[in-house]
Symmetry: C2
């Protein structure tokens, strides 16, 4: 019997999740919730670009949609912000349905989000279901994967992850999210208002530190513009020299005043190569590289779908990628 | 409070585990069992090459040693063969003590070992403790790591792992185990009697297949000699051209008659570079490389030690690396 899944949120990631659920064996897309009035009422096939009708109508009534579809699991792709996702999470948990969410701030809640996470954990336990926040980043490339690699070490002094992506292959909202095409001043303003940033470095750093048993005394998260030196263009955007072509973001975790976890991201139009590397200074020293890097959207949707069978098996409560079995491809 | 660990088996891996337990925070080496009469009665420091006495005497009486030391966990490094390790495992489980074992055939029991594994699982559940078989290979480089990477894929067609090691940096018994210095005929005879081989390819292939939900119809495991073309030597051995300098071993798992899991190992004196690579054909295609490779002995001992805190947390029974949380460095 396929696992019945409802997708909550049909933005680019949610649509990608829905397409996978339709295409892959072992899963059935049984419901779709979105608040966008241009999507509500349509057959979900029209929203996700599937050729044949799927006989699943998009609704903005989450409670009604879940009651009718009776999903085994809800995959939620609504917001990066835990505070914003919280009402949706509450709604689903009240209906005793497990959740896999791509909400970045749910991957390993930090700071003020820890209070919200505790509430979610309690709700989930009360409803006897599990909740997982995951994705490629946070959730995999810059946290669970280096954590896994550290298992081969008898001593770890520091962990560094570099994630460099040529943004030309990503969708337009992503290219805009990294500030491509802006002036340096516009970029700075958008960094200030929070609209240009990757969400998740503090979460990833905290996850690594917890796994390794390290107590951190400070976490920093800094954003710089990548400024084009030559004209660069994607299929979607053109950037002249002197304008911003993307983002450079550095998260650092300090232990006893020393930088022990360094997460370095570059995402810009025209990066000469894309890659993910993990470098663990320790014994043995580990230098690991994924050629071409893990594509953000595909990998996030894949990990969310692959986590669906796992979230049905694990203990109730708020789970993370480091306290549940490895999420593998679910064939 | 440090976790109290008894090491059962003080060969090269067990001694390395013991050294880590002494050196690392969070662990205490409280007992040591070995049947070698040259080790029995010595302070374990003399056996593992630690400068100060550790006030732990090596005993060949496992029951007495465990009763006296009251370890929280036993790390067992006695044999690659599950059949041979079984009596030791039974002894420890009867004393209700969890086990981390580097017994290769315990990592994911296949064939006739499945009957033994079921018995171990039942004993462990009866004693309310967990048992884990792990190490770098099997247990990590050629199974758990590719399984982890597959989580980023929406489609997996095949998994290939290449593990190439220059055996010059390994200890003498390892160099001998891979047949270095033998004639081709001597090598063939030792392959036939089972004394020259890597144990674990079938286990790793089965673990990957299980994680990915694949049913295999055949697993092959073939060994070839690597013959020196030029003189090669390590600090410990010299091999003339025409003699064997190491081993090439290929394990293949077939699904519907197609090779879908390929594990390729080369370990020989003079390999120009050492590395571990994982190649997943699918969407996305993943090409991952660990430069220099994971050193067999260090990584196996590290993973065994790092698994100690986990084995205390997981549900009773026989666990594997794919049904428990990620084993990370335990700092």
């Amino acid at each position: 019997m396929p696992i019945r899944v409802l997708v909550y949120g049909l933005g680019p990631i949610g649509a990608s999740v829905a397409r996978q659920l339709v295409a892959r064996k072992g899963f059935a897309l049984v419901g779709a919730v979105d608040t966008d009035h241009e999507k509500v009422g349509l057959d979900v096939a029209q929203v996700i670009g599937h050729e044949r009708r799927l006989k699943v109508r998009v609704t903005n009534d989450a409670v009604g949609g879940i009651r009718q579809a009776k999903p085994d699991v809800v995959v939620m792709c609504t917001s990066s912000s835990l505070r914003k996702a919280l009402p949706c999470i509450e709604t689903v948990l009240k209906l005793r349905t497990p959740i896999v969410s791509t909400t970045e701030e749910l991957s390993y809640p930090v700071g003020r989000n820890r209070t919200l996470a505790r509430a979610i954990d309690q709700m989930a336990k009360k409803s006897k279901v599990a909740v997982l926040g995951t994705g490629v980043n946070p959730g995999f490339a810059m946290d669970a994967l280096p954590v896994m690699l550290s298992g081969a070490c008898e001593r770890v002094e520091s962990v560094r992850v570099d994630r460099v992506q040529d943004a030309r292959i990503r969708r337009l909202p992503f290219q805009q999210k990294i500030g491509a095409g802006l002036t340096v001043d516009q970029f700075a303003a958008k960094v200030k208002d929070g609209s240009v940033r990757h969400v998740g470095l503090a979460e990833s750093i905290t996850m690594i530190a917890r796994a390794l048993g390290w107590r951190l005394n400070e976490i920093t998260d800094e954003i710089q513009p990548k400024v084009a030196k030559v004209p660069v263009e994607s299929d979607l955007l053109a950037v002249d020299p002197g304008y911003v072509c993307g983002i450079v973001q550095d998260g650092v975790g300090y232990r006893k005043g020393q930088p022990v976890i360094t997460l370095h991201m570059e995402a810009y139009l025209g990066a000469p190569e894309s890659y993910d590397t993990v470098t663990i200074e320790g014994l043995p020293r580990i230098v690991q590289r994924i050629e071409g890097g893990l594509h953000g959207d595909i990998a996030t949707a894949s990990i969310a779908v692959n986590a669906v069978p796992q979230v049905l098996r694990v203990a109730p409560g708020l789970r993370t990628m480091i306290d549940m079995p490895i999420v593998s491809y679910a064939g």
